[in-house]
Amino acid sequence: MLSSDSLKKIDREVAKYPSDQKQSAVMAALAIAQDEKGWLAKETIEFVANYLEMAPMAAYEVASFYNMYDLAPVGRFKLTVCTNLPCALSGGVHAADYLKEKLGIDFNETTSDGKFTLKEGECLGACGDSPVMLLNNKRMCSFMLPDEIDKLLAECERTAAGH
């Protein structure tokens, strides 16, 4: 169900915890599974739960509690824009509006070509760099004024085109 590469990564996480506390690795394991699959289907969550010898419901509780797990398919590029107060004071809301207009979608929507999904984020912990957005849960993009947003979208388009 998951690649051997993903399982190796999960094993590395399991090793961080006492041997009788495998469940501690569930957050990391779900993140690794999401990286491979793009999102977390019920079967994926159940697989992770079985792998870590925990109840599937307990794994589902974790997957549904933390904001960065996607329980439905998302586009290839998920952009999470912070609109919380410190960012809003420096253009965060307008960065989100600019993206909505450029991509023609609202928060929690995906472009019809399946490339982009837009999410509204809570504090990303980088308020000094506002406006900030997070690309695919991994890359913090700082000082995202319109020119920078244009550059980022162009980069994503190039990646999608295989360049």
Binding site: Y66, N67, A88, S130, K138
Partner: protein, 444 residues
Amino acid sequence: MALISTLKPLLTTGWSGGDSGWGIKQYEARGGYVQLRRILNEKMSQDDLINEIKKSVLRGRGGAGFPTGLKWSFMPRAFPGDKYVVCNSDEGEPGTFKDRDLMRYDPHSVIEGMIIAGYAMGARRGYNYIHGEIFEIYQRFEEALEEARAAGLLGENILGSGFSFDLFAHHGYGAYICGEETGLLESIEGKKGQPRFKPPFPASFGLYGKPTTINNTETFASIPFILGVGGENYLNLGKPNNGGTKLFSVSGHVNRPGNYEVPMGTPFQTLLEMAGGVRGGRALKAVIPGGSSAPVLPANVIMDCTMDYDSISKAGSMLGSGAVIVMDETVCMVKALERLAYFYFEESCGQCTPCREGTGWLYRVVHRIEHGDGRPEDLDQLNRVTENIMGRTICALGDAAAFPVRSFIKHFQSEFEYHIEHKKCLVDPAVQRAGSGFFKVGAA
């Protein structure tokens, strides 16, 4: 106090190297791991070590300001089984971004602080819980751990001392509530991050039910520096009861947002000047001095404050994590509060009814005021809801949701009343649009 005039930065000493100064070689070149080596060579007693931290009057940098030495002394060191040291790097309080830079530019100071803490409290294992959204920082911390392990500073029998300690990074995945220490422990255990009822406190029943001490990233990072200058000297860098220097994350309407390290007791005005002053030369309206949960202070009040636990507390707010959110005259306070209220509504873990339901009420009522549907009784209603939340929940998130609402209404009541009566902002929308929250000025 002569030290202040000649003060060199402590915590930020290594930051000048930017993204290339974080490695173990650079850290050791600037005196890193010297304190750990000294402690192990001298076989320093745990009591002496904890007393040195007590002397420094280092107070917890995560927000509560609890004296670190005292916290360490609560650990049952003689308890024979597993004990844990946990670092809270789940930095998600709006306005706070200091721990991210600490781990980005100087991760080994956090590691050294945690190893020393493990030695002082007889713990053999530690975890650093890192905010989900800063994956690149998590990766860097993992690399730094590998470096420390390769250098024999982590693992079994560290530097032949007989002391063993290992440390691991745990990556969060987006839940503000995990910044609450018992929610964080639940999260490490692989569960929903819902806070635990206290007592029992983590010192007796913590991670996996074992004695555990949880400190903030900046707190741990301060430890090697305190031992370097000596506890008493560290205290004297700040002011009585507020030892040392502290990082302040300055965001919002300033010319140079960023982290600034200053001695405790530095006037707010000095900090504001360091951050380049208010953007566009506008007038200061209000400041949230300690992260979004801290009560807001109007300009005239904050301008008379010094940046330390006691001064900010006397002014009616909290120093919290040292996140200073600056707002100028173009801000509509109803709109600002609406965004904060939404945050707490979104992040309430849902465990306690007063918080789960109350944060929803707070958001909906502020939302309707902002959008022209406010009712004359709404301000009383908001205060009543906060009273029904405060002190009636397992953790402090409920209080944290209530403080902004109460303080915004208290200090800017006329703006809220105007909104309800006239169904629009007191601050002219054109003035708001000209403000820094919009690209055309913010970009300049």
